[in-house]
């Protein structure tokens, strides 16, 4: 599957994870806190093919949307670079962008206790694709204090999904979330769940 023409000039290789969740939940902040470079921005044009139900001729129409992504980078070792992509919060179109999730080691889904429901689309997406994910409850100053099990109930999460209380402005806190995700992904790979 994977091939390249890079021998022997390129020794390093890359892997990625996603930071998802609703608009304003702290995705870009998290990427910026943990990245070794200031977050960069890139964009892609997503094309949706839709077919009118009433249309007997079956003519397909196209809708295109530009989706912007913030991303950062962590050099894990001289051989491995980790990229972190913050998914666009408001836009439903990124859910059609399968390339983004393909091959990802996993996803951090950030949740805001003031509106937990905004995390549901991301939870559904990663669950259905079998991508390992953890919930990072971003503890805003004026947010209600929740217990982990309250959040689990409210989000209807399986018992094995890790939930971490975090502050995405804090580097140590972001590290803890990412280590929890990578350990969870390791557990799933080891169990042959993927």
């Amino acid at each position: 599957m994977a091939f390249d023409n890079s021998e022997p000039v390129l020794r390093g290789s890359s892997v990625k994870l996603l930071v998802a969740g609703g608009f304003g939940v702290g995705k870009t902040t998290m990427v910026g806190t943990i990245s070794e470079i200031p977050p960069l921005r890139t964009e892609e044009v997503i094309t949706e093919m839709s077919r009118g139900v009433d249309d007997l001729a079956g003519v397909e129409s196209k809708t295109t949307t530009t989706v912007a992504l913030d991303f950062g980078r962590i050099t894990i070792s001289p051989e491995l670079v980790l990229y972190l992509f913050g998914t666009p919060g408001q836009d439903r179109f990124w859910f059609m962008w399968d390339e983004l999730a393909d091959g990802a080691l996993g996803a951090v889904i950030l949740a805001d206790t003031r509106r937990l429901g905004s995390s549901f689309p991301a939870i559904d997406y990663f669950e259905s694709r079998g991508v390992p994910f953890v919930i990072g409850v971003n503890c805003f100053d004026d947010g209600a204090v929740h217990e982990v099990e309250e959040v689990r109930d409210a989000l209807d999460l399986d018992t094995w999904v890790p939930i971490v209380m975090c502050d995405v402005r804090d580097r140590a806190s972001c590290k803890q979330v990412l280590v929890t995700l990578a350990e969870h992904a390791l557990t799933m790979v080891t169990a042959g769940a993927r």
Partner: protein, 120 residues
């Protein structure tokens, strides 16, 4: 190219031969250029290239004197990812850059990630 009338290679098998001849390129290679594929220039930008190649290609070559991902190149040039991939395809065709696909996040990779983040 094989001159002995056989179309297969004893050692590597028939499927490997066209792959080897194209230096890893296939007609659908752009599909393999993932968002985090790493790209590096195979040499400095020469004066001939600087006058004969399109501006965007020169910009990319300057940017990938050190390895960079497709996403970083796209951000650096302020071009959509799909356009960046097509330009990179041109540079791959011209054998001016090397690229490497992302690794599969297997046990070894995940352990490296865990250790790497802990040590930040």
């Amino acid at each position: 190219m094989s001159n002995d009338g056989t179309w297969f290679d004893d050692a590597a098998g028939p499927l490997v031969r066209p792959y080897a001849m194209t230096g890893g390129r296939t007609t659908s290679r752009q599909a393999d250029l993932e968002i985090i594929a790493l790209v590096v220039a195979l040499g400095p930008v020469t004066r001939v290239q600087a006058t004969s190649l399109d501006d965007e290609l020169i910009q990319i070559l300057r940017l990938v004197q050190k390895p960079a991902s497709v996403a970083e190149i796209s951000a650096g040039l302020r071009l959509p990812l799909s356009v960046t991939k097509i330009l990179l395809g041109d540079l791959i065709d011209k054998q001016l850059v090397a690229f490497r696909s992302a690794v599969t996040p297997d046990i070894r990779v995940l352990q490296a990630v865990i250790n790497g983040i802990r040590q930040l």
